[in-house]
């Protein structure tokens, strides 16, 4: 077995009486898509925040690239190579699409403390940003104000900005939401190829996408991972059927 790139060990987080993360241990291995599924409010985004560094766990640790990063903040973890997309788009809404992508490229390259040269004329940054936009299919919207993008396009831009970082691992919180059937399918195809560049911890409600993509699936219910396994194993798992998939079958 290959050494995991990213690992959580016994992550626990409570909000008052609510245990949003209950001793969560999971890992992300090179080359894989590890899907994290679970009903609304199960604690998926809370876990992502703790891995990304936006939230400190009450106990437990996060390891990334063989290093304990629990004490590092978001900025440091991003610099180490953690690329993240948000469930609720976190973009600079007044910027153009291209500017958002250039911001990502700038973060990856460094050299923010430069005060004179126009950043939007920096060939290296523009190339990197444009390439990322092309990969998600947003190149025709490069000059559009981000606030004018549709919900789905914003999700695509989130992915594009993460791509500009050329990260070692991706954390994606519901990248398909709002994309529509066609968009979902395209992004599914794209993520399929992306895993070869860097593994993806994928939170997603779109079950077609999850079962088509995931090498492994973890199921989170009330803050606890109740099962981890391949798509077939998860489908066959009685606990999962009862706790989670059952709801869908009934619907």
């Amino acid at each position: 077995m290959t050494e995991p790139l990213l690992q959580t060990r016994g992550i626990t987080k409570s909000f008052g009486a609510l245990k949003a993360s209950d001793a969560i241990s999971l890992d992300l291995r090179p080359g894989e898509i590890h899907a994290l599924i679970g009903p609304n409010g199960a604690g998926k985004s809370t876990l992502i925040k703790q891995i990304a560094g936006n939230m400190q766990p009450d106990s437990g640790t996060v390891h990334f690239l063989g290093q304990d990063v629990t004490a590092l903040d978001t900025v440091a973890r991003a610099r180490l190579g953690l690329g993240r997309t948000f469930q609720i788009s976190a973009l600079a809404m007044e910027f153009t699409v291209l500017q958002n992508a250039v911001l990502g490229a700038l973060g990856a390259r460094g050299g923010v403390m430069r005060f004179f040269r126009p950043v939007m004329k920096d060939r290296a940054l523009l190339d990197r940003a444009t390439e990322a936009l092309e990969r998600v299919g947003l190149q025709d919207h490069a000059a559009t104000r981000t606030a004018e993008l549709s919900h789905g396009q914003r999700r695509q831009l989130e992915v594009a900005v993460a791509l500009t970082l050329k990260p070692r691992a991706f954390l994606m919180d519901e990248p398909m939401a709002g994309l529509g059937a066609g968009g979902s399918k395209r992004l599914t195809g794209f993520l399929d190829g992306l895993r070869a560049e860097a593994p993806i911890l994928l939170v997603e409600h779109d079950m077609d996408a999850v079962f088509a993509l995931a090498d492994r699936i973890s199921v989170l219910v009330y803050g606890q991972v109740i099962a981890t396994g391949t798509a077939a194993e998860i489908r066959a798992n009685p606990d999962v059927r009862r706790a989670y998939l059952g709801e869908e079958d009934a619907a």
């Binding site: 978001t74 910027f95 939007m120 970082l165």
Partner: protein, 327 residues
């Protein structure tokens, strides 16, 4: 060229035309007013970097304006009495040289901004406003109780400081000097806002999470912006003191902070020429309405309210519309 560029060019033209007309018709008072506009606009250009680009609502920029003013006052007063500021461990004498005074004004206000920023930028929103206000007021009361430089009464400098090759006592020469400095500050501010730093800083104003996620720390960006902002406003303070040949604790008062903020808001927050348009409008109103009624600030207040409610982009924003181009 965008519409905003045309408006800026038109405004520049007006700001050159008016003093030229005043100079050729020998109206020294108008020249002084134009100089005042340029200096106050400069203070606003400083604030605009923190407020407009960084979204940092500083209600304490009077601190830097005052430090710049007192840097001038202290250096010049020691020079006029031939009494060194300090003899031990090193001899520091006063000076009447503007370039030296400006340098000292900018360095001291930058250091103050570093200190005030490092402490206050850990907070945000209303707390940030209140902390910056508190720092300004602290310095205000400090200077009131500091008898060495006039205390509450302030301090007069009898002869305007000198600049190599110029006679600064001639109004039009001091005006040109002030205009050139304002022009340089605008140029710097324009470059800054388009540079990598400007992109990251404005992104942090819009969404700090986004900036962190790409590996850039918003705190550092804001602190650097605050320091640059403070240094420019400090320079304006030194010039303002030279214009009046007088310093007083009022330079530190929250009224001053408020007025600098009014220039920026009236003209257009985050717009390159916002502070210029705002300061010009402010002085124009003061000049026109101040003679009619002592309560002219009521009109100013109403105008400000109208801008905040109906014209968020201020004068420039209303005329130029929203900018969408990214180059």
């Amino acid at each position: 060229m965008t519409r905003e560029n045309y408006i800026n060019a038109g405004l520049t033209f007006l700001l050159v035309l008016v003093p030229f007309w005043a100079w050729s018709t020998g109206q020294a008072y108008i020249l002084t007013l134009c100089t005042k506009v340029a200096i106050l606009a400069l203070a606003g250009v400083g604030l605009n970097i923190a407020l407009g680009l960084g979204g940092l609502v500083s209600f304490g920029h009077a601190a830097f304006f005052g430090i710049g003013g007192y840097a001038m006052g202290i250096l010049a007063s020691h020079a006029q009495t031939f009494d060194p500021i300090m003899e031990w461990p090193i001899l520091i004498e006063g000076t009447k040289s503007m370039p030296v005074i400006w340098l000292v004004a900018m360095i001291t206000s930058a250091l103050a901004a570093l200190l005030i920023g490092a402490l206050s930028l850990r907070t945000s929103g209303v707390y940030f406003i209140m902390i910056t206000l508190a720092f300004g007021q602290m310095l205000y009361y400090f200077t009131i109780g500091w008898p060495a430089y006039g205390g509450e009464d302030g301090l007069s400098i009898y002869v305007r400081n000198s600049f190599p090759g110029l006679n600064t006592l001639v109004p039009v020469q001091f005006l040109i000097l002030s205009y050139v400095i304002l022009g340089l500050a605008l140029l710097f501010s324009a470059r800054l806002s388009r540079a990598p730093f400007g992109l990251a800083l404005t992104a942090a104003r819009q969404n700090a999470d986004r900036v962190e996620t790409v590996g850039i720390a918003p705190y550092r960006l804001r602190l650097v912006a605050f320091v640059i902002s403070g240094a420019i406003t400090g320079l304006a303070g030194a010039l303002f003191a030279d214009l009046n040949r007088f310093i007083s604790p009022t330079m530190f008062s929250w009224h001053t902070s408020g007025e600098i903020m009014i220039f920026v808001i009236l003209g257009g927050v985050g717009r390159l020429y916002g502070p210029v348009a705002g300061a010009a409008l402010f002085i124009l109103l003061e000049h026109l309405l101040g003679g009619v009624s002592d309560y002219w600030k009521i009109f100013l207040g109403a105008l400000l309210l109208a801008v905040v409610l109906f014209a968020r982009g201020g004068l420039i924003g209303t005329l130029a519309g929203r900018e969408v181009a990214h180059d």
